[in-house]
Symmetry: C2
Subunit: 193 residues, 2 copies
């Protein structure tokens, strides 16, 4: 099924289970079952559950960076790139309806647990924030690039949360359209005053 080194397979399985069931609710036993190893073997690779969480967060950070770099290369311009961001709501529609946003739900859970890795998880948000910031700056919104970045981030977060509660694909589509329209009003002013 998967020939990757055990450590990596553990991280991948944990990543999925943390997303689908939450960090706290996911037990070593469950992960071990998915990876098809014994619980004992587990501790050869990760001494504690928190260590595993850190590995998962770092993997997510790396994967997110790769995705953002990809958008940077593929997108013809900043507006087109921001569109890529907005459209992940559609790309991951099914998962979002089932489990919410992987970033938002993890950060919320860790914040409640008062967990030491809360800030590490929040850097996932920061990754998107600074990337969007750069795109809006390129559009010419030097003064409010961060504000626009946060605004868009907040809107997609909200859509994910409600989509998770109401399971309504039409709602996601409608909100994505609104966000694309909203973006369009800024891209037209690409040569600012």
């Amino acid at each position: 099924m998967n020939d990757a080194p055990t450590r990596q397979r553990i991280v991948e399985a944990a990543d999925q289970l943390f997303y689908r069931q939450g960090f706290e609710h996911t037990s070593f036993a469950h992960i071990a079952e998915v990876v098809q190893i014994s619980r004992g073997n587990f501790y050869y690779h990760f001494k504690t559950k928190d260590q595993l969480l850190n590995a998962v967060i770092h993997a997510r950070i790396a994967n997110t960076q790769i995705m953002l770099d990809q958008w940077e290369v593929e997108g013809e311009g900043p507006t087109e790139r921001i569109r890529s961001f907005i459209k992940i709501l559609l790309m991951n529609q099914a998962n979002i309806q089932h489990y919410g946003c992987p970033v938002g739900t993890l950060c919320s859970e860790l914040a409640k647990l008062n967990h030491g890795s809360t800030e590490q998880a929040n850097t996932l948000f920061t990754l998107f924030r600074t990337w969007l910031h750069r795109q809006f700056t390129l559009i010419g919104r030097h003064d409010d690039a961060d504000e626009l970045a946060m605004h868009l981030l907040a809107r997609s977060q909200g859509v994910a949360t409600l989509a998770n509660a109401f399971h309504d694909p039409k709602f996601i589509q409608t909100e994505v359209n609104h966000m694309l329209d909203w973006l369009q009003t800024y891209s037209q002013s690409s040569t600012p005053s």
Copy 2:
């Protein structure tokens, strides 16, 4: 400290702890400690943790309904009432930065736990949704009242999630202002085509 019947004190303490620490992370021992009763006594009032959760959700539904009714009475018109909704982000600013939105975080957690009370918790969202729906209808937006309600709900959810991650009061204020501006564009068209 609190002379209310024990059952009610348990529900109130659980409500707070579920909000601050999450449902799963909160133990009977912790609640019992807050309420100053023994763990054994606990089971006289609630046979299971799920029963307690249901009591908490119903208490929240009742309290939310009271708040919405209050806004209905106090607000001079639908626009003013919707402003009350938007401004809870400022009213509860401190709590939201610490613990996120009480509705959103509970629904997200229960969805991940695949918990039987997920739908019950989601009715909290529905309460706001239908209330906002009515206000937008009164403004004259008969055709897209629900869409506008969901849109506003989503935006406040997103703001709560990011405020929880970044702890930035200025961000909340900025977004609230944007929402109030957005609302204003609709209230002016109160006599629709």
